[in-house]
């Protein structure tokens, strides 16, 4: 997904002279072709995230579309005020590409785990927050970013993620994609974002054996949130379970429950939010190890549904 995303920056840059890449101390040789062919639109700056954001704001102010890239925690936490003021207050079309969203950097420990990035990015006015589920969907997102007039946070997954998205279902920023529709409207609905959609689809398959018909709705865009689709699936559901790779406070599940409470009130279905509790992860291992610890593996997601449907 990361490589696809960066290849798309190069592809977009070939199509549109406004596109600029700006990284913060990334891998040697990164986007080497772009650097060679368009050196004045390829920047590799030091470990200076605050400056990187201000600099891209200046470029955007003058008509460019900068794609800024570094590790997700550093492009969100480290320069939060620059993101808020330089990008969001000015409403400039800078794209923030965050490597290793969520628990990808499990072996590197909590300094590198972007657990609250969704929450803090969605709190900012004018910011668009995206979290696609695989590399194919990343291509569709990147194509859509070119003319989106606002700042965008693009959360990257680990890479090599299974492809579950389907081109025929379409793609538009801010429009959720029903990936699996239950036959009955009185059913469980999994609402998920990022690679949790992959795990949710696998969970839905497992739930068939338990006799629970489950829909899966994929929200590649967390902000602006597709309220209509969320409400359409929630309105008659017995249970809505939100699934995200991040803390529950202020995250994707919070965004969904806000909508359900505001629009459905006491008629809202039962809701369970799966995600991280209010803590920094203490373990290392692999991303899947942390998924297991926090109940985000397919069998665990399925079990959460079963417990609440009985």
């Amino acid at each position: 997904m990361r490589q696809t995303c960066l290849n798309m920056v190069y592809d977009l840059a070939k199509r549109d002279e406004r596109v600029v890449f700006a990284g913060s101390d990334l891998s040697p040789g990164l986007l080497a072709d772009m650097k060679r062919e368009m050196p004045d639109r390829w920047y590799m700056e030091g470990i200076t995230e605050q400056n990187l954001i201000g600099m891209t704001a200046g470029l955007a102010k003058e008509g460019y579309i900068p794609y800024a890239n570094t590790i997700a925690t550093f492009i969100t936490r480290r320069c939060y005020e620059q993101v808020a003021v330089d990008l969001c207050l000015h409403d400039l079309p800078v794209r923030l590409i965050g490597n290793g969203g969520g628990l990808v950097y499990a072996p590197l420990g909590p300094t590198h785990l972007a657990i609250e990035d969704i929450a803090i990015m969605r709190a900012l006015p004018n910011m668009t927050v995206t979290c696609v589920c695989d590399a194919r969907e990343m291509v569709r997102l990147m194509n859509a970013t070119l003319d989106w007039p606002h700042p965008i946070y693009i959360r990257l997954a680990k890479g090599g993620d299974p492809v579950v998205s389907r081109e025929e279902l379409g793609f538009a920023i801010g429009k959720a994609i029903p990936m699996r529709r239950a036959r009955s409207r009185r059913s469980a609905v999994l609402m998920s974002t990022g690679v949790m959609t992959t795990n949710s689809l696998a969970a839905a398959d497992l739930l068939v054996k338990d006799g629970i018909d489950t829909s899966v709705v994929h929200f590649h865009t967390i902000k602006p949130l597709d309220k209509e689709t969320a409400l359409d699936f929630a309105r008659d559901a017995e249970l809505v379970v939100t699934v995200e790779e991040g803390i529950r406070i202020g995250g994707f599940g919070s965004a969904i429950t806000d909508v359900l409470v505001e629009h459905l009130g006491t008629a809202a279905p039962k809701v369970k939010r799966l995600g991280l509790p209010d803590e920094f992860p203490h373990n290392y291992g692999l991303q899947d190890d942390l998924f297991d610890i926090y109940g985000l593996m397919p069998n665990q997601i399925a079990a959460s549904v079963v417990r609440r449907c009985k």
Binding site: T48, Q50, G58, Y64
Partner: protein, 283 residues
């Protein structure tokens, strides 16, 4: 090592008395303070000659076409000094002088910190300190990529450059050889909490900018002729950004407010205070 340009230091030993234009602009500052019944007094007064020379003699702009592509860009990074900018923009016709009377009022375009898109002539929304130089780096890169000869001037406060982000931006500007970028430091030596030498000593300040590969000069920031001479010499050295350290006086022109951190900002400016401020300008 000092360059030949740096050797030509344009500092006069004593600031000449304020002339009528400098007094007039300061009266507009007081008018604005009266309108808002509040504002950054000392932080604006120290900037007047810098702003005056930039807008009277240096910058290329069109007041009725603030987004003219070939304009020079002036970013006031120390956004709290915005009254000095507002009076210049009003004086030049970017918006009517009457707008100054609405400062900080509910529906005014003129807030306590300047907002781009709201105030004609304001390039960037500033107020959170330490942002302007980075934005200016991006703007300077952009105009160079577009092969335009616009200059980018960013005005920073001395307290502001405590922020680490300023030095990130300085490294970046030098790396990219941004000779179209000039950082102007309003070195009035008093920040909100007190003298900079006590709160966060900046010295040796010129050496710091030189160490960050800026061609650096120091000038009396209230000496109009000296400021003109420096600004007309830009860029001082090709392929390098410039830093102009302007030695200024916080609250300049208001005798009882000069060098006094208590006049950094005032939130209760009543008619008596306004009368005192006007009176000081007549001394």
């Amino acid at each position: 090592m000092a360059t030949s340009a740096e050797a030509v230091q344009i500092i006069k030993p004593a600031t000449p008395p304020l002339d009528e234009r400098s007094k007039y602009l300061r009266k507009l500052v007081v008018r604005t303070l009266e309108g808002g019944e509040r504002g950054h007094v000392g932080s604006s007064m120290s900037l007047i000659e810098i702003m005056r020379v930039l807008y009277d003699d240096v910058l290329r702009y069109r007041p009725k076409e603030p987004q003219w592509r070939d304009r020079d860009r002036m970013i006031l990074s120390k956004g709290h000094g915005c009254i000095a900018l507002y009076v210049m923009l009003a004086d030049k016709g970017f918006f009517p002088l009457d707008a100054l009377d609405t400062f900080c009022r509910r529906d005014s375009i003129l807030g306590g910190h300047p907002e781009a898109g709201k105030v004609p002539g304001v390039e960037a929304s500033t107020g959170a300190l330490g942002h302007g130089l980075s934005i200016s780096v991006g703007v300077a890169l952009a105009v160079r990529m577009q092969k335009r000869d616009s200059r980018v001037i960013v005005v920073l406060g001395d307290g502001e450059i405590d922020e680490g982000s300023v030095w990130e931006a300085a490294m970046c500007a030098a790396k990219h050889h941004l000779s179209n970028l000039t950082a102007v430091i309003d070195y009035n030596k008093v920040q909100s909490a007190g003298p900079t030498r006590e709160i966060q000593d900046l010295e040796p300040l010129a050496d710091k900018w030189r160490a960050f590969n800026f061609t650096t000069v120091e000038v009396d920031g209230h000496d109009v002729e000296a400021l003109r001479a420096v600004f007309h010499s830009l860029p001082l050295v090709q392929d390098r950004p410039t830093a102009i350290i302007c030695h200024t006086v916080k609250g300049k022109g208001i005798r009882f407010a000069e060098n006094d951190a208590n006049w950094h900002h005032k939130s209760k400016i009543n008619k008596d205070v306004v009368a005192k401020l006007y009176g000081a300008l007549e001394e």
